[in-house]
Subunit: 420 residues, 2 copies
C-alpha cells in the first residue's frame, strides 16, 4: 500500500485456545480475508484471559505492528477483558454507546440469563467506530491512536467472520486510501509447484497487479491482486491477467473465487438445472456431507447410499453379489455399477460412486489409497482409478477421493474430458 506499511498482528484472547479445546479459526479466517486485500499479517498471538499477560502482549503488538486486530474477550463475563486492556493501553476511556445499550436491553429483556454484566458489552472506547454485531450481542469496534489501527472483534467464529467481512474489511479498505481487490483461480489436477513453475517469470515481473500461487490441502489456487483508486479500476487491471492465466491453465481451473470444488459443482448445477445422487463406500458419507454443507443443496442433491459393506451394495443398490465376489468391492466394475445404479434409483441426471481403501487396512489385493471413482450420466459412465498414496492419512484419502468425484462432475458439465 502506498506510503504506510500495514504490518498486522492478530491477537486472540481466550484460555480455551491455550488448553487446546478449540482451534483458532478466527485468526485463520481473518488472515485469509486480509490476504485478499493485500494486507500482510506478520504475527498471530494467542494469550489467555489474564490481564497482565494480555497487557504485555498488547505492548509487544504495539512495538511490531501497525494494525492490531483482537479476537475474543468482548462478552459479558468477568473473564472478558479485551476492551478494558486495549482502552487502557491506548489511554482511552470506555464510554457507553447508547444505541448498543438499547439493542442489548431489547435482547436481554427476553433472556433468562440476564446479569448487569451484560450491559458492559455496550461500553466502547471513546470516539471509536462501532461495528454492530449482526449475529450476536457484543459489538466490535475500530479506532486510530498513536499511529496504530486497533480493531476488536468478538471470538465466536460465526460472529467474527460476519463482522470482519461486513465492517472491518471496508474500514481497512478506506484506511489504505485505495482499493485492493483480489481474485483466485482455483486449480485441481496439477500442484502448486507446477503452477509456480508455469508463471514464475511473469510473477517475478509483475508489481501491480501481482500474482501468487498457494497450496491448499488437496488443491491449489493462483491469486491475482491489484490496487487502484477505485474497486472498478482494480477489477479492470485484474481481468486481463486472470483471463490469460486461465487460458494457460485450461482444464485445470475449476472455478474462480470458490472455496472448494463442490461449490463450483453447485454453481454449475444451478446453471444447468441438474440433479445428482451419490453411492459411497470408503468416503463413508463425506461426498454427500460436503455438498449438503451448501445452503440450497437440496435443489440438486437428491440423496445417496453409504454402502460400507458388500451386502449393503447389494441391498441398497441392487448390485449383483456375484460381481462383487468376482471383481472385488474395490474395482472398476463395482465403481461403474455404483454410479449407474444410484443414478437410476434416484432418477438423477448424474450418479457418482466411490469405492476404495482409505486405510489403515489394505484388502490383500490393492494397497491403501487405491480408490475407484465413477460418474454415470445419460451419455455414459466414466471411472477413474486413483492411487492416492499408501502413506497418506485416512482423512486425506477420503477428501482427495471426494475431490476427484467433484472434478469428474464439473468436467462433464463444462464439456471437458472426464478421464485421461
Amino acid at each position: 500500500m502506498s506510503g504506510k506499511s500495514f504490518d498486522t498482528e492478530i491477537l486472540s484472547v481466550g484460555t480455551e485456545l491455550l488448553l487446546g479445546h478449540v482451534t483458532n479459526t478466527d485468526a485463520r479466517d481473518i488472515s485469509e480475508m486480509l490476504s485478499k486485500i493485500g494486507i500482510n499479517v506478520r504475527y498471530h498471538t494467542v494469550v489467555g484471559d489474564n490481564p497482565e499477560r494480555l497487557r504485555a502482549c498488547v505492548e509487544i503488538a504495539k512495538s511490531r505492528a501497525d494494525i492490531i486486530i483482537t479476537t475474543g474477550g468482548l462478552g459479558p463475563t468477568c473473564d472478558d477483558l479485551t476492551k478494558q486492556i486495549l482502552a487502557e493501553a491506548f489511554d482511552l476511556p470506555l464510554v457507553e454507546n447508547k444505541a448498543e445499550r438499547e439493542g442489548l436491553y431489547d435482547y436481554i429483556k427476553y433472556s433468562r440469563s440476564f446479569t448487569p454484566n451484560n450491559y458492559a458489552q455496550a461500553m466502547l472506547p471513546e470516539g471509536c467506530t462501532v461495528f454492530h454485531n449482526t449475529c450476536g450481542t457484543a459489538p466490535g469496534c475500530a479506532f486510530e491512536k498513536d499511529g496504530k489501527t486497533v480493531i476488536m472483534i468478538p471470538g465466536p467464529p460465526k460472529e467474527c467472520r460476519a463482522m470482519f467481512a461486513q465492517s472491518a474489511l471496508p474500514y481497512l479498505q478506506k484506511l489504505s486510501g485505495g482499493q485492493i481487490v483480489s481474485h483466485s483461480l482455483r486449480i485441481f489436477g496439477i500442484g502448486e509447484s507446477a503452477v509456480d513453475q508455469m508463471f514464475r517469470d511473469e510473477m517475478d515481473r509483475m508489481r501491480n497487479p501481482s500474482m501468487a500461487p498457494y497450496a491448499k490441502e488437496c488443491d491449489c489456487l493462483l491469486q491475482v491482486t491489484a490496487k487502484a483508486d477505485t474497486a472498478a479500476e482494480a477489477e479492470e487491471m485484474i481481468r486481463p491477467v486472470m483471463e490469460k492465466a486461465a487460458a494457460r491453465l485450461g482444464e485445470y481451473v475449476y472455478g474462480v473465487d470458490v472455496e472448494c470444488i463442490e461449490e463450483a459443482v453447485f454453481a454449475l448445477m444451478e446453471q444447468n438445472g441438474m440433479t445428482f445422487a451419490a453411492a459411497e463406500s470408503c468416503t463413508g458419507g463425506d461426498v454427500a456431507r460436503r455438498f449438503t454443507d451448501i445452503p440450497g443443496a437440496s435443489a440438486h442433491f437428491l440423496g445417496g447410499a453409504v454402502t460400507y459393506t458388500n451386502e449393503m451394495k447389494a441391498k441398497l443398490l441392487g448390485i449383483d453379489p456375484a460381481l462383487i465376489e468376482e471383481k472385488g468391492a474395490v474395482s472398476y466394475e463395482v465403481a461403474y455399477e455404483m454410479a449407474a445404479r444410484i443414478r437410476e434409483i434416484a432418477g438423477a441426471d448424474i450418479g457418482v460412486g466411490v469405492t476404495g481403501l482409505a486405510g489403515p487396512d489394505g484388502d490383500g489385493v490393492h494397497e491403501v489409497g487405491t480408490v475407484f471413482v465413477s460418474m454415470a450420466a445419460k451419455d455414459g459412465v466414466w471411472v477413474r482409478e486413483l492411487h492416492l498414496g499408501a502413506q497418506r492419512t485416512r482423512s486425506f484419502i477420503r477428501r482427495m477421493a471426494g475431490n476427484h468425484v467433484y472434478d469428474m462432475m464439473r468436467r462433464y458439465m463444462t464439456g471437458l474430458k472426464v478421464t485421461a
Copy 2:
C-alpha cells in the same frame, strides 16, 4: 509442578499460517496434550518464514516462557529456518546426526525429488535428544540450555501429533521429576456451567488431584489431574475422584478419555458385537462420516441412506409417500419410519434416523433447528424431538443432531433411559 514453573510458549513457523491457507491445528493438538499432563501453555505465536522476525519471536519466548516448543520449518527447502535460528539463539552448533542421515539416504535414494538440501534435515543442535520421525523425514529434537527447555517438532499435522505424543510427552514427563496424569469424564446432556456449579465447592478445595470442567463445541468434559512420583501413584489418586464424580453425573457421562460420542459408541459396539445403519436427511451423511472416520468402523457400521428429498425417503427406504405428505418430512412419524426401515433393510441390530431443518430455510411449519432423531432396536423404536436454536449455524445443528443420535445409541447399549 514442584519448584520450577513450566510456562510454555508454542511458536509455529510458517507463512501459510499467516495467509490463512491452513489452520494452526499443531498448536491446538500440542496444547491439548500438554493440558493433560498439567503443563500450562501461556502463549501461542505464529510467525512467517522470515529469519529476522523468527529470531525476534524466539527472544520474546525466552523472556516469558520456560518451555519453548516450535512447530514447522524443519523441512529441506530454503524456507525451513527453525533449527538454524533456534540453534543460533542458544549458541549451539548444528551437527550432522549419523543415524538420521543414513535414514534419509535410504529414503531419498528411491525418491525422484532428491536435492542435497534433503540432508539438511539430519543437521541437529549439538547434544540434543533426537526425536525420530515415524511418519515423515524430518527429525525433531529437544535440548536444555540457559534454563530453558526447547523442543522442535515438524509442521505437518500427522507428524506433529505422532512425534509429540511418542517423544515429546515422555521427555517432558521426565523433566518434571514426577508424573502428571489426567483423565476426563466426557459429558453430554448438561452444559459446562451446570457441571461447574455441581462441583464448584469441591474444585475450590482440591489441590492435588485437581479438577476442572471444560466446554467443547457440543458437549463438555470434567478433567481430573494428579501429580505423583510415579504414574501408578497418580492413577491411584485419580481413581476415587473420578468414580465419585461419575456417580454424581450419572447418565450424563458418555465415556472416559474419548474424543467424541461416536468413539464411545464404537467401543460399546466392539464390546457387544453389534451393528448399525443410518438413515439421514438433514445431516446429509455426517452421521455416517463421523463413525467411518474411526478405523475399524466397518465391523459395526453397515451403511446408510442419505435421503435428502422426500422421493428418496420413498425410493431408498420404502417409506409411504402418503405418510410424508400427511405428517411432513420433519416429523416424529417419518423419523420413526426412517430408523425402523434402515434397520430392516441393512439387517442391523440398530437403525438410526435424522430428519429436520438445519437452515437457513424453515419449512413453514417448524422453525430452523427442529430435528427429530430416532433409533430402532429389537425391543422398540425411540424418537427425540429437538429444538436446537433457530439462530444456530447449519453446521452446529447438524453436529448437535448427530450427537443426539449417538447419545441415544450409547444410552441404549448401557441400559439407560433413551428418551425423557
